[in-house]
């Protein structure tokens, strides 16, 4: 490929499209299922229950400390499968590229995806490419579908959550959110995105054979939003302790400066697990032995019954409560809208 930048013709299905696919995508992702470059990928169906997920990646900036949109796309897809107890197997990748995107950037992103896929043991088996006019796309959007298989005996769902269960988080929160904000300018912290594939950490957790109820990865909306989802889906309230939640000092400092709350910042390499009380220490141990779970901590527990909140007019619903480092207990709501930097 001689071009420096992606042209509209690269998406039109003709010679340039073919060159792009051969020289960039196939070269990086090469495997026997993909190589015929058919309109579909055909493969033997694995034994067991299938899990499928889909996601779109539109992060801006596309390169950030600790990763890029490509690595994010692969890890994010793998993680959505993993937290359901699925072993990730196959992925599709769809690119929507803005006319004018530097080819070098695309190559870097594709290289990232290939590396991430290899380290996850997931195969990219089919794909698609479109190019839109300059100004109609933000550099590059990536859509994926992931397919995995769930072993017999693995059953995870918030409906299994019981009062007394423990809530564990696998490590420090807010790293990815802060890395993105840092890249957008204004401040500096020695923190990079935690973007990582979590399937092996999940395997370690499940191998303890303990009473694992449910797992989620707290991406957009942060820890607070995931906990609210658990509360709503399970019908039980949750109490967490601020002092137990792992947060890097520099993330705390940046949050103070900008008026953000780490509970609502995005993560791309963390899991929240709910387990039975009896098994919590065992699960914690297993997590800590994995490099992605070094800073795992039990942060709270599931409460008896749902807790109605608000005054006369507020509909009853289970709540997430936080006992602050200061000693008071308050409600933690889901994230609404965007977190915007406060000045006032």
């Amino acid at each position: 490929m001689n071009e420096e930048r992606i042209l509209l013709a690269h998406g039109s299905g003709g010679k340039l499209s073919h060159d792009l696919i051969e020289n960039i995508f196939l070269k990086a992702f090469y495997n026997p299922i993909l190589s015929p470059l058919s309109d579909q990928a055909v493969f033997a169906s694995p034994a067991g229950r299938l899990a499928m997920t889909t996601d779109s990646y539109v992060v801006n900036p596309i390169f950030f400390p600790g990763g890029d949109i490509g690595k994010l796309a692969v890890c994010g897809t793998v993680n959505d499968l993993a937290v359901g107890g699925a072993m990730p197997l196959y992925m599709s990748v769809s690119f929507i590229i803005e006319e004018g995107m530097p080819v070098e950037d695309l190559k870097k992103i594709v290289r990232s995806m290939a590396d991430a896929a290899k380290s996850c043991g997931v195969t990219i088996v089919t794909g698609d490419t479109k190019v839109v006019e300059k100004g109609k796309g933000d550099n590059i959007f990536i859509n994926t579908t992931g397919v995995g298989v769930v072993k017999d005996g693995i059953n995870l769902s918030p409906s299994f959550i019981r009062p007394g269960d423990a809530v564990i988080v696998s490590g420090t929160i807010g790293d990815h959110g802060m890395a993105i904000l840092k890249e957008r300018g204004g401040f500096d912290i020695p923190v990079v995105s935690d973007c990582a594939p979590l399937h092996e950490l999940v395997r370690d957790i499940l191998s303890t054979d303990a009473g694992i109820r449910a797992m989620r990865d707290p991406t957009r909306g942060g820890l607070a939003t995931i906990l609210n989802e658990f509360a709503d889906s399970s019908g039980h309230a949750i109490l967490i302790e601020e002092e137990k939640i792992p947060v890097k000092e520099a993330v705390k400092g940046a949050c103070e400066l900008l008026g953000f709350d780490p509970l609502y910042l995005a993560n791309e390499g963390k899991i929240v697990v709910v387990t039975s009380k009896d098994s919590s220490e065992r699960v914690l141990d297993a997590m800590r032995k994995n490099p992605l779970g070094n800073n795992a901590a039990i942060i709270g527990s599931i409460l008896e019954g749902s807790v109605t909140g608000g005054g006369v007019n507020s509909p009853a619903r289970p709540r997430v409560l936080l006992t602050t480092a200061f000693g008071n207990t308050r409600v933690v709501e889901k994230l609404t809208g965007e977190q915007l930097p406060r000045i006032c």
């Binding site: 204004g186 401040f187 500096d188 912290i189 020695p190 890097k248 000092e249 520099a250 993330v251 705390k252 400092g253 940046a254 103070e256 400066l257 008026g259 406060r342 000045i343 006032c344």
Partner: protein, 73 residues
């Protein structure tokens, strides 16, 4: 209306400084202060240092509050 955070001045270049809060650094304008030196603590608001922290007063306040802590038990 006054989100202002105390941070330590770690570098000064002309009217601008780098201020550190717990390991996070931000570029901040010193144009509203008479003077500032590396090592000073300043209150940061909307990208400006608006006042220096009087460390003697700060330590006295901390001592006062710690004194109350003893009584709280």
């Amino acid at each position: 209306m006054c989100l202002g955070i105390p941070g330590r001045v770690v570098e000064i270049k002309g009217e601008n400084a780098k201020v550190d809060v717990g390991g996070a650094e931000r570029k901040v304008s010193l144009s509203l202060l008479e003077d500032a030196s590396v090592g000073d603590y300043v209150i940061v608001h909307a990208g400006f240092a608006i006042q220096k922290v009087n460390e003697k007063e700060a330590l006295q306040a901390i001592k006062l509050f710690d004194g109350f802590a003893g009584k709280g038990k």
